[in-house]
């Protein structure tokens, strides 16, 4: 047992050493002409400006992360792949849409002191541990599709000071759907389904709360597993409750099974099914076939009138770069996240005569938070003091043609609410 004792004492000694190191470490605050309380990134002439991304690019949710990541790449392409005179280089990491993946990806990004800012993640569970790690290393982060309210809640704490979020939060979306369903459509009895994802569950909960507050009744509160393929039993149960409509903000797989199998259940033929932008895109159209007709989704408005003129051009560029049209609903968020960071960098970067650029991070973070009326492809973006930069243009769309090739937000799916912006 001698060796292991030796090991133990060695390890203990090292811990103490680490502690000493950590407490003595302090960032240099003045680099070149710039001073910053956090850190300054120095980019020599010709060197790239490194932007990290972390999204889910493996496993079952690949499409979600890949779509967002590609949005950022399209944005960089629109900038001519240069920013303040330096080429843009991406460092794409995979967060696996889970907490430990987000943490590992963030730690890797944080270890690279050349990284100016990070984009991601697409999942709240990955973003939650990642953002504090990034900010501790002086890297501001733009959450692209992580919509959990806690990320931009007033009590989120100083470790999230570096995080802004480009997507709406669930509190808003759930409330809007409830309002629309009760007031506009006049639905009194709602059924809800979620797939156990934090996103869908939170939306459903917020929706229920608001719907009840308005005077509606939630007659059936159901859930399925994300890998379920057979929705008939759960739909049968919902049918027995005779709802006016079904709210299912689930992801593509579950949603398409719901769409296809709903028609087989007696009593549900006429009941509306409303999804969310988690299932938006060509994938759902491919997977649902002709039963898609009439399916409605609740989302932020995503057509030229609401989003500004950029979206269509972006879609075409996406196709040119990746050989297919957007595969999910969050590419616009990726695009705008990149643009937000780029605009902030342009504001604060200082380039010397010799071509060296200095980027003060605290100033960059403040510039990001100060974003006002930025015209993005998802709409006009304004950030609040807690970093919520989501675009809140609620709309309901309805599919008019099941052919994936006809996907064109505004025409198919067609906006049915509101009629005018």
């Amino acid at each position: 047992m001698k060796p292991s004792f030796l090991l133990k004492s060695l390890a203990a000694a090292s811990i103490v050493a680490v502690g000493a190191l950590a407490s003595s470490a302090a960032w240099a605050v003045k680099v070149g002409p710039v001073e910053d309380p956090i850190r300054v990134v120095k980019i020599p002439k010709g060197a790239p400006i490194v932007i990290a991304t972390y999204h889910v690019i493996s496993g079952a949710d690949t499409a979600l992360g890949l779509d967002t990541q590609r949005g950022a790449v399209v944005a960089a392409d629109d900038l001519g792949n240069t920013l303040v005179g330096h080429p843009i280089k991406f460092m794409h990491e995979d967060d696996g849409c889970n907490a430990e993946g987000g943490q590992t990806a963030a730690t890797k990004i944080a270890a690279n002191q050349q990284v100016v800012a990070a984009l991601g993640g697409a999942c709240s569970s990955a973003t939650r541990p990642a953002a504090p790690i990034l900010w501790k290393a002086g890297i501001p982060d733009v959450a692209t599709a992580a919509s959990s309210p806690v990320l931009t809640a007033p009590d989120r704490g100083p470790s999230y000071d570096g995080l802004v979020r480009i997507v709406y939060n669930d509190l808003w979306a759930g409330r809007e759907v409830a309002n629309w369903a009760y007031k506009v459509r006049g639905y009194k009895k709602a059924a809800t389904i979620h797939d156990g994802s934090p996103y869908a569950e939170k939306l459903v909960r917020v929706f229920q709360e608001n719907f009840k507050k308005l005077g509606g009744e939630v007659v059936s509160d159901e859930a399925v597993a994300p890998n379920d393929t057979d929705m008939r039993p759960v739909l049968t149960k919902i049918a027995t409750a005779k709802p006016d409509f079904i709210y299912a903000p689930t992801f593509v797989g579950v949603t398409s099974y719901l769409i296809r199998q709903k028609k087989e259940i007696p009593g549900l033929e006429k009941v509306a099914l409303v999804g969310s932008d988690a299932s938006m895109g060509a994938q759902l159209m491919e997977a649902s076939g002709k039963d898609l007709l009439g399916f409605e989704i609740s989302t932020t408005a995503m057509e030229p009138e609401a989003q500004g003129p950029g979206y269509k051009a972006m879609r075409e560029k996406y196709k040119k770069l990746f050989g297919e049209y957007p595969i999910q609903g969050f590419h616009g968020n990726g695009y705008d996240a990149m643009m937000l960071v780029a605009n902030a960098i342009k504001k604060v970067a200082v380039t010397e005569k010799d071509g060296t650029t200095y980027i003060p991070i605290k100033a960059l973070r403040d510039a990001m938070f100060a974003t006002k009326n930025m015209q993005g492809v998802t709409g006009k973006i304004t950030c609040d003091q807690y970093g919520d930069c989501g675009v809140y243009n609620f709309a309901i769309y309805q599919y008019t043609n099941p052919d994936p090739k006809t996907l064109e937000p505004g025409k198919n799916p067609k906006r049915i609410y509101p009629e005018k912006f």
Binding site: S14, L21, M91, T104, T107, K108
Partner: protein
């Protein structure tokens, strides 16, 4: 070892094959691999990755490496030919490989098959044909393939003093290039800035860096080839005692380097090593169950989850907090609770499956593991466990006034836990209980006849195994600061089982090696996203084929299997049957 017997029987058959068939076969291996890399979409990713900046991409390196290898392979497999003929064989094999790739190029150029094979993009075609028209491209591909095959065979045929340094040099340059980004992450100090700038840019390795690395590898290897024997002989000439002290000295240096490595290399390596550490902990636990007691368990993640959730429930300041005293417990206070909870969970698992054996056990435990996961995620349990929103705000542990909040701190915590746990595992293995486990692993009925209390012994295996996982879960919870049910998938159970078997079942050092191999390496290849798992699967297959006993098998196991294989061989020899 039966695997070798089979392998040697293949070789035996191989010699009897005609030379033509052998050539075609080797060529098909090379060509097939290259085409598969294209079709699976790996080349699309490899194209983007420079081994040597703006000169040699990983895709090029893969093509070259594969063709060189098959060239060398045919040279090895044609022992009857003269050296010159063997080198010519290399040329032929390289050409055959080239033909495979050419066919792919022609198909891609003629038909639009991207609807089916999404990876065969125009960009890939451009890359494969170097901007030539398809027919020229085919000719070039075949000729280049032939030349590379020839070089491969030639390297194989060259004398050892040239061959070994050459291979080492190339490999050094390649791996430095492959891990350029990670190495740079580890070199974030001003003092090594000049070296870093000389070797790398953020895009990859510089040409000068690659040449330097090649020369370095070449020279070191050359030195070893020239002088290695003598050094070893000198070493052996020394007295036994001094040999041993040198060995201990080297071990000590290795250990110190390992301990200091994460501190020097930064948080990311700390984080990766910490994940490895967690899997080592779980691996040691599962090793008690599977390795020693022979109880196959595919639901191990449930114990891990129990540990993590216990910590979260007792320490995290949120609405799910369970108050035992007037304040939330600290991590240190909750730790024994977490381990105890896992132990109880282990017993709860063990009781229903006591009478279930073998593969039935694997399925039963998998079912139990899934039950736990489904319950944790469900709306039914969410008032208690938070459901899919997870449990947030788990505080970090403190030592006095010092908060362990960096991955490196937590790595050392994991390391110390692992060492303590390893001591327990070692002690258990050599205890009366450990021997009882091994006895029932071999034969339950005989074990029972020998007076082993099957029920107690089995339940102890589950409980103690779960205890280790609970410890790992407790660290996992503070590592993340918030836990979600999606972190506890069946995949984790599978990973742990895979790592203890790849490491060598029943062997403690094997667990460490297996975890480094199966958890550490994929983390380092994070940027390849989805293809990590392709590589993971491939590595599992190759490891099992090459080292069916694992990388570091336990001595007992090795002896047993050798004896079994011998008996088998004897039986086969007498019966003359090909089974």
């Amino acid at each position: 070892m039966s695997f070798e017997i089979i392998a040697s029987s293949f070789q035996h058959k191989d010699i009897e094959q005609s030379q033509l068939r052998r050539t075609l076969k080797c060529g098909a291996i090379g060509g097939g691999t290259v085409v598969a890399l294209c079709v699976f979409g790996l080349i699309n990713q490899f194209m983007e990755r420079w081994i040597i900046e703006n000169l040699l991409s990983l895709a090029h390196a893969a093509f070259i490496g594969i063709t060189l290898t098959v060239g060398a392979l045919i040279a090895i497999r044609s022992p009857k030919l003269s050296p010159a003929a063997r080198i010519f064989q290399g040329f032929l094999v390289g050409m055959v490989s080239g033909v495979f790739l050419s066919i792919l190029i022609l198909i891609m150029a003629t038909f639009d098959i991207r609807n089916m094979f999404v990876s065969l993009s125009p960009k890939l075609l451009m890359f494969l044909s170097y901007g030539f028209d398809p027919y020229t491209a085919c000719a070039v591909t075949i000729i280049v393939g032939g030349v590379l095959g020839l070089i491969g065979a030639a390297i194989r045929e060259s004398p050892p003093w040239l061959r070994k340094p050459l291979i080492t040099g190339l490999a050094t340059a390649f791996f430095i290039g492959l891990f350029a980004e990670l190495l740079q992450l580890a070199m974030q100090y001003e003092t090594v800035d000049p070296i870093r700038d000389y070797m790398f840019t953020w895009e990859g390795q510089t040409l000068t860096g690659a040449i330097t690395m090649f020369v370095l590898g070449f020279v070191l290897s050359l030195f070893w080839v020239m002088r290695g024997k003598q050094v070893m002989a000198n070493h052996r000439a020394k007295s036994h005692a001094s040999q041993r002290s040198i060995r201990y000295f080297l071990y000590a240096i290795a250990i110190v380097l390992f301990l200091l490595f994460p501190m020097a290399a930064g948080s990311f390596f700390g984080q990766v090593l910490m994940l490895v550490g967690l899997y080592v902990l779980m691996g040691m636990g599962l090793n008690l169950e599977v390795g020693l007691a022979g109880l196959l368990d595919l639901g191990f993640v449930a114990f891990f989850a129990t540990g993590a959730y216990t910590i979260a429930l007792f320490t995290a300041d949120n609405e799910h907090l369970i108050l035992l005293i007037d304040r939330p417990l600290t991590w240190w206070e909750a730790l024994p609770l977490a381990m105890f909870a896992s132990l109880m969970m282990g017993l709860a698992f063990g009781i229903p499956v006591l009478k279930v054996r073998g593969d039935y056990l694997a399925v039963a435990t998998m079912g139990l593991g899934e039950i736990i996961r489904v319950v944790v995620l469900s709306d039914m349990a969410s008032p208690l466990l938070g459901g899919s929103q997870g449990l947030l705000h788990i505080p970090r542990p403190w030592i006095g006034d010092f908060e362990l909040n960096d991955p490196i701190h937590l790595f050392y915590l994991t390391l110390i836990s692992s060492i303590i746990a390893a001591y327990f595992a070692w002690a258990l293995e050599n205890s009366r209980l450990g021997r009882a486990w091994m006895a029932i692993r071999e034969d339950e009925d005989v074990g029972q006849a020998l007076g082993i209390n099957l029920v107690n012994v089995k339940l102890l295996a589950y409980g103690l195994g779960a205890w280790f996982a609970g410890l790992a879960g407790a660290i996992f919870a503070v590592m993340l600061g918030s836990i979600f049910p999606h972190s506890f998938q069946l995949l984790i159970s599978i990973n742990i089982l895979a790592l203890i078997i790849v490491g060598g079942i029943g062997s403690l050092p094997g667990v460490v090696v297996g975890a480094l191999m199966l958890i550490g390496t994929p983390e380092l290849l994070r940027e390849f996203g989805e293809y990590r798992f392709l590589a993971y699967g491939f590595v599992l297959i190759v490891m099992m084929r090459v080292k069916p006993l694992g990388l570091w098998p336990s001595a007992v196991r090795k002896r047993e299997l050798a004896a079994a294989a011998e008996a088998e061989a004897q039986m086969r020899a007498t019966s003359g049957q090909k089974a």
